[in-house]
């Protein structure tokens, strides 16, 4: 599934045009990127958190030659899916929730 497919779904489900749907998808992604660029965590309830993590400098090895090389400090994005999302992909969203309330 690609960006266009997501836009098409929005177009099919609600009355907006294909162009509008694609614009919104772009806008949402652009806003997410902008926020992450500033090192900000983005929390989407029911979906998950995009977190910017700072990595320290570390030593690595070229797996082919065994040569040791320095890996510079860097910032990376990680995604931590929410419980709801995790349960959803395992097809047990309602089941687990009732277990937790015990």
């Amino acid at each position: 599934m690609k960006k266009v497919d997501i836009a098409n779904e929005l177009y099919e489900k609600i009355g907006i045009s294909k162009k509008e749907a694609l614009d919104i998808v772009e806008l949402v992604l652009g806003t997410l990127k902008e926020s992450l660029k500033n090192g900000e965590t983005v929390k989407i309830a029911g979906f998950g958190n995009f977190v910017v993590r700072k990595k320290r400098e570390r030593k690595g090895r070229n797996p082919k030659t065994g040569e040791e090389i320095g890996i510079s400090p860097r910032q990376v994005v990680t995604f931590r899916p929410s419980h709801i999302f995790k349960q959803y992909v395992n097809g047990q969203d309602s089941e687990v929730r009732s277990q937790k309330s015990k």
Binding site: M1, L27, S35, K37, K43, F47, V77
Partner: protein
């Protein structure tokens, strides 16, 4: 930034849509990603990243309280891999 902030920001940039309408659309967008993954599909968004499912096998774990050994059943977890543009953007490098 929370989803509410995201909706707020997006609705400021979209003429002709109320905040409520934007909220519905944004929710639908994330839901469609969830549905696609749940049905085994993967999502690739150029310049942003990709979402796919990773499978975890059965493994033996321990109850940290009692030390008792238990089997943690196999499961599927959503996985996101940042795209090149996003990686460089976040690392403060210039894109392109």
């Amino acid at each position: 930034m929370t989803k509410t902030d995201l909706i707020e920001k997006v609705s400021l940039k979209t003429a002709g849509l109320t905040k409520k309408q934007t909220e519905i659309i944004v929710n639908m967008l994330f839901d469609s990603i969830k549905e696609a993954l749940a049905s085994g599909d993967k999502i690739e968004i150029r310049g942003f990243g990709s979402f796919r499912i990773r499978s975890r096998r059965n493994r033996e774990g321990r109850n940290p309280k009692t030390g008792e050994s238990v089997v943690v059943p196999q499961k599927r977890v959503p996985f996101f891999k940042a795209g090149k543009d996003l990686k460089e953007l976040v690392d403060g490098k210039t894109v392109g």
